[in-house]
């Protein structure tokens, strides 16, 4: 693990396109991610935002955190609004009504606005091949309305609509895999990213911008109140999600899978899960089930990325170290000034 990643934020422009003063909760992983994404995008863009946390924290009239042209219309249609912007700019460019420079059109939405209510509009926009970048900020539930489950909520997580009951406890279904869904549209570029890995994130934003046609970026966005974590731990949790293989960092570039943050061994999922209030009620059996699934999916991903022999056993990927903080996580805490 390179230390460079920790300081990568400083290599970005000092210009803020997502201006301070917004009303995100302290420790909001999404706000950190949005800030980095906007820095990577720069100023020559137009944004379409879905209703959700970032919309609400950034745009109470007459205030706005957006230093770039930005529009919010409704919850489920960010991809369609972006389609319209792209088509409108294209037609005006062709007819000489605006100058010929390329303007990047970006849509942003949460996991609900992407994987649930916005899935149809997203699918339509990807299928039609609009030249735009869609960024999904995945905090794994409807946080803006008070932590209700979405189809992106992970198995076992307690939310207000997947509560810890006597019969059932937490989310009973597995997280919808948006990467597979978007890749199935044969779009030229799709990637996952995490605010814990800024260099990787920035590179993927740039690739998405440069892609001709639709690009999709799925960004993990830890949510302190929704996940039951301390504000100062959100980036550490994002890092652990990557290191456990729960949220692997990879891209699908013109159909080719590439793991962008390779892991020698996976950190046991327990280390990630036990730090979060939403998983407090997980039974050992459920924990085991999650571990098995993560290993299996990691194995499948490595096979797709041609980084592993398909005959290797899935459990070989798992680190034997069962307890204790990983080296990378420790480094992160030291750099962040937290007590060792």
């Amino acid at each position: 693990m390179s230390d460079a990643n920790v300081y990568a934020v400083k290599t970005l422009t000092s210009k803020e396109y997502f201006a301070p003063g917004h009303r995100a909760c302290s420790g909001c992983g999404q706000a950190v991610a949005v800030r980095m994404v906007q820095k990577a995008l720069g100023r020559n863009i137009v944004m379409a935002s879905a209703t959700g946390c970032m919309e609400v924290v950034s745009s109470p009239f007459p205030q706005s955190s957006w230093e770039v042209p930005w529009i919010h219309v409704a919850f489920e249609n960010a991809a369609a609004v972006a389609s319209g912007i792209e088509a409108g700019l294209k037609a005006q460019r062709r007819k000489g009504k605006i100058d010929g420079r390329k303007i990047t059109v970006v849509a942003m939405a949460g996991d609900g606005g992407t994987a649930d209510i916005g899935l149809q509009a997203l699918s339509g926009a990807l299928e039609r091949g609009h030249d735009f970048l869609y960024v999904c900020y995945d905090n794994e539930a409807y946080m803006n309305t008070g932590v209700q489950r979405s189809s992106a909520t992970p198995f076992g997580a307690v939310t207000t609509t997947s509560p810890a009951g006597r019969v059932n406890s937490g989310q009973l279904t597995w997280k919808k895999n948006m990467m597979r869904i978007t890749a199935a549209h044969d779009i030229p570029y799709a990637a996952t990213a995490s605010p814990s890995h800024p260099l990787d994130l920035v590179e993927k934003v740039k690739k998405g911008m440069e892609t001709e046609g639709p690009a999709y970026l799925h960004v993990l966005s830890p949510c302190p109140p929704g996940w039951g974590i301390a504000a100062e731990d959100s980036i550490q949790l994002a890092r652990l999600a990557v290191e456990t293989g729960i949220f692997p960092l990879y891209e699908i570039d013109k159909g080719k899978h590439r793991i962008t943050m390779n892991l020698e061994k996976l950190v046991p999922v327990k280390q990630y899960l036990k730090k979060q209030g939403r998983f407090r009620r997980l039974s050992p059996e459920m924990m085991e089930e999650i571990q098995e699934r993560v290993c299996k999916e990691w194995q499948e991903l490595r096979e797709k990325a041609e980084q592993i022999d398909p005959s290797a056993g899935a459990d070989e990927a798992l680190s034997k170290e069962q307890e204790g903080e990983t080296e990378a996580a420790k480094i992160f805490r030291v750099k962040a000034g937290a007590p060792v």
């Binding site: 109470p60 529009i71 919010h72 219309v73 369609a80 319209g84 409108g88 007819k95 699918s123 339509g124």
Partner: protein
Amino acid sequence: MAKRIGMEVSIAAAEAVKQADVDVVAAYPITPQTHIVEKLSEFAADGQLDGEYVTVESEHSAMSVCIGSQASGARTFTSTSSQGLALMSELVPIVSALRLPLVMLLVNRSLSGPLSIWNDHSDVMSIRDSGCIQLFVKNGQEVYDHVFIGYRIAEKENVLLPVIINMDGFILSHTFEPVEIMTPDELKGYLPPYQPKYTLHPDHPLTMGAYATPALYTEAKKAHDEVLKASYPSILEAWNSWGKRTGRHYRPVEELFCQDADTIIVSMGSLSETAAEAVKLMRDQGEKVGLLELRLWRPFPFEEFSRAAAGAQRLIVMDRAVSSGGPGGPVASEIRSALYGINNPPRVDSYIIGLGGRNVTIQDFVEMVEKTEAESALSPVTGSTYEIFGAREHH
């Protein structure tokens, strides 16, 4: 010279959209709107329409694309019917609140259920209060003309509101009529290139669609209401200017034999053509009957309407939609409000007719007039009296 050509009204509509130099069309197919968007697709494929045709996956996305496109500064068009409007209806008050001047041809069709592809006005009544300018047209020429008129009204800097043109499904959309197609020279100058003041562009970043707290929502609504009402002179201007150019004059309320009429039929859309025939027939028989055609639905022309209707003893109001559990017909209830408080207001009889494509004949109008005249001497009407005319009793 403008040529009068026999053509399907939907094709005339598409012709007008092409001539209006629209930059982006986004639409989803739905009966009976389809012929309009099929023709526009052909124009785009042939390079005759210099714009982008976005083949969306739903009407919700159709309106979303239109909002994005219009916000980027492109002149944008859409068309839908019935369930399509219902699906996009979340966005209709948003497009007007964002002050985006697109034009929509709403090919009126009844709302399900039961499912019916045929004509009535239940679709548009569901978005009555959406803050858009809403007009009704009654023949192919009016459809064609109002595409240009619609954009001229919508894009005025002091208006900037969407214009929804209502045309009856099948009865109008699928009928062949002679339509005078204007030459580019004749159109020149009526619809100048769209030059929006506020657009989404990196050269002048701005935020559109910010949300309002309780401290500001009321003010936003009031401002919207005021601008819609204040659009009235701009609507008249667009009609007058078109009239001077073409000789085809339009008014918010069209009158036929209203001045000395005892009984006035009030109607909207293509029904007015049949009603006009009925009125002429009754006039020939010496009955003092008139017709008042409501062309402008929003903003409602209260003053013009009251003036035109004030002399009559009876108004017979046609509604092609039901406000269930309420005052019956939405148009009749509007008119009762419009006349409230004036001296000796006419009696207002509310008839709901022509639902789900049920034909309305000249004889039906004659019957409604006779029935009303006979009853008005015997029974009073209240604000909630209405009749669903011609409905068969079930046994």
